[in-house]
């Protein structure tokens, strides 16, 4: 299934995962048949992913996320957009994020 996210997309955590900040890390546990499976597959976000994830409040579009990050990080707009779109595309492909309807 092709994953299409744009700067206008609002991304939210998928219903198929549980995410929690543990010891300074964003830990994401996939749900398999309604059970959180921390044995077979567990994700943690790296620094870039964590910074983006923390801006996803269920209301911001990805463009808003880029703007919020631009206030914190000295990176070009193009680089931030590439990171945010790349992150969102990958996370939706993994089933961790979903586009808000």
């Amino acid at each position: 299934m092709a994953t299409q996210v744009t700067l206008d997309t609002v991304c939210v955590p998928s219903d198929d995962v549980v995410a929690r900040e543990i010891e300074g890390e964003i830990v994401i546990v996939p749900l398999v048949a309604g059970i959180g499976d921390a044995d077979d597959e567990l994700y943690t976000l790296n620094d870039t992913g964590k910074a983006i994830w923390q801006k996803l409040d269920g209301e911001r579009t990805l463009a808003d996320v880029v703007a919020a990050l631009a206030q914190e990080f000295a990176a070009s707009q193009a680089a931030l957009e590439a990171d945010v779109l790349g992150f969102a595309a990958e996370m939706t492909q993994r089933g961790i994020l979903a586009a808000k309807a």
Binding site: I35, A38, D40, Y43, T44, E90, M91
Partner: protein, 341 residues
């Protein structure tokens, strides 16, 4: 997930990720708060034989259900932020007395709010295993509370301990060693693969996730195998000058698994190290051994190692004696076959 690499610039995933115990507790709290069961591996053998190290347990949230006598529950240990998975053995006031089936002492009384879920499933090697709940759990809880479970455990272990002691004694007998070397199948010595090293680490530190050892041109590692089973391990380490005072060729970490001692495995591993040191041009091979380990000292002496004093190492060896009370000494074998010697 097809087409998605396990890790990327944004995310790490896969089997190498392991939560710490407090991390597991925190995750369990999060899952319990949302009423979602959690499946995760557990460490340790405090609930053996029902739950063993690295077993995967499924912990269902309590969802308002009170713990019952004999339940195996996950909870925050009293007084610290660590998680345990033990059995409910008694009701004490408003709380619950917890005790691991394989623990000498109870954990203490745990408040209902700190009981985060009950174990409903245990998997070992991909298969479900019996957990001992219901009437059996209540019976075990009663036995534990009365102190009879510990006695039963000791009685159960006694024959195995006696066998191990007898085997250890026999392994020191020349007759056993001679017969063993003739009759037991020979082990093969091979350079250690990653899988071998993981097996060695599991043996040395059960329950601790194995870490990949970094490739180092100065270190060669071998294992002894009986069939497909790893039964021994050794390292040859070549320390250059900047590693002073541990300079030169060193034999480290010679290990032979208990049941395979006395059968020539250690000697075969040591001879492999000696041969490799000679091939690398070493003029001597060194090792450190506990002075009071008479069996090891005699073993190396038979293979031509003699005690030497390395002045630069003496302060280090003396310093490490203080905490343990055991003194290591250096043994050396001159390698006459060396091309340089």
């Amino acid at each position: 997930m097809p087409g998605v690499p396990p890790s990327s610039p944004f995310v790490s995933s896969g089997g190498e990720l392991r939560l710490t115990n407090p991390g597991q507790l925190e995750l369990l709290r999060g899952m319990a708060g949302r009423g979602i069961p959690l499946r995760q591996s557990v460490r340790g053998s405090s609930m053996a034989p029902f739950i063993r190290d690295q077993d995967v347990v499924t912990i269902a949230p309590m969802n308002g259900r009170a713990p019952r006598l004999g339940d195996v529950v996950a909870f925050a240990l009293p007084g610290n932020e660590r998680m345990a998975v033990h059995r409910v053995v008694a009701r004490v006031g408003a709380g619950w007395l917890m005790h691991g089936d394989n623990c000498p002492e109870p954990d203490g009384v745990v408040a209902s709010d700190d009981v985060l879920g009950r174990v409903v499933r245990v998997e070992r090697g991909g298969r479900d295993v019996h957990l001992g709940l219901g009437a059996q759990g209540a019976w075990l809880a009663t036995l534990q509370r009365c102190g009879w479970l510990a006695r039963a455990r000791a009685a159960w272990r006694a024959p195995r301990l006696a066998t191990a002691r007898a085997l250890r004694a026999a392994q020191g007998l020349p007759l056993y060693r001679r017969a063993g070397r003739r009759l037991a199948p020979h082990s093969t010595i091979a350079e250690a693969t990653k899988a071998d090293l993981a097996a060695v680490q599991r043996r040395l530190a059960p329950g601790v996730p194995s870490q990949e050892l970094s490739a180092n041109p100065g270190v060669t590692r071998w294992v002894a195998r009986r069939g497909a089973k790893v039964v021994g391990f050794v390292e040859l380490v070549h320390h250059p000058e900047e590693h002073a005072p541990w300079v030169g060729y060193w034999l480290f970490s010679l290990l032979v698994w208990g049941p395979y001692r006395g059968l020539g495995v250690g000697e075969a591993l040591t001879r492999r190290v000696i041969a490799e040191a000679v091939a690398q041009g070493a003029t001597e091979l060194l090792l450190a051994v506990y002075e009071d380990d008479a069996r090891a000292v005699r073993f190396y002496w038979k293979l031509g190692f003699e005690r030497v004093t390395v002045p630069a190492l003496e302060p280090l060896l003396a310093a490490e004696t203080a905490p343990s009370g055991r003194r290591r000494v250096v043994l050396r074998k001159r390698l006459e076959g060396s091309a340089h010697g």
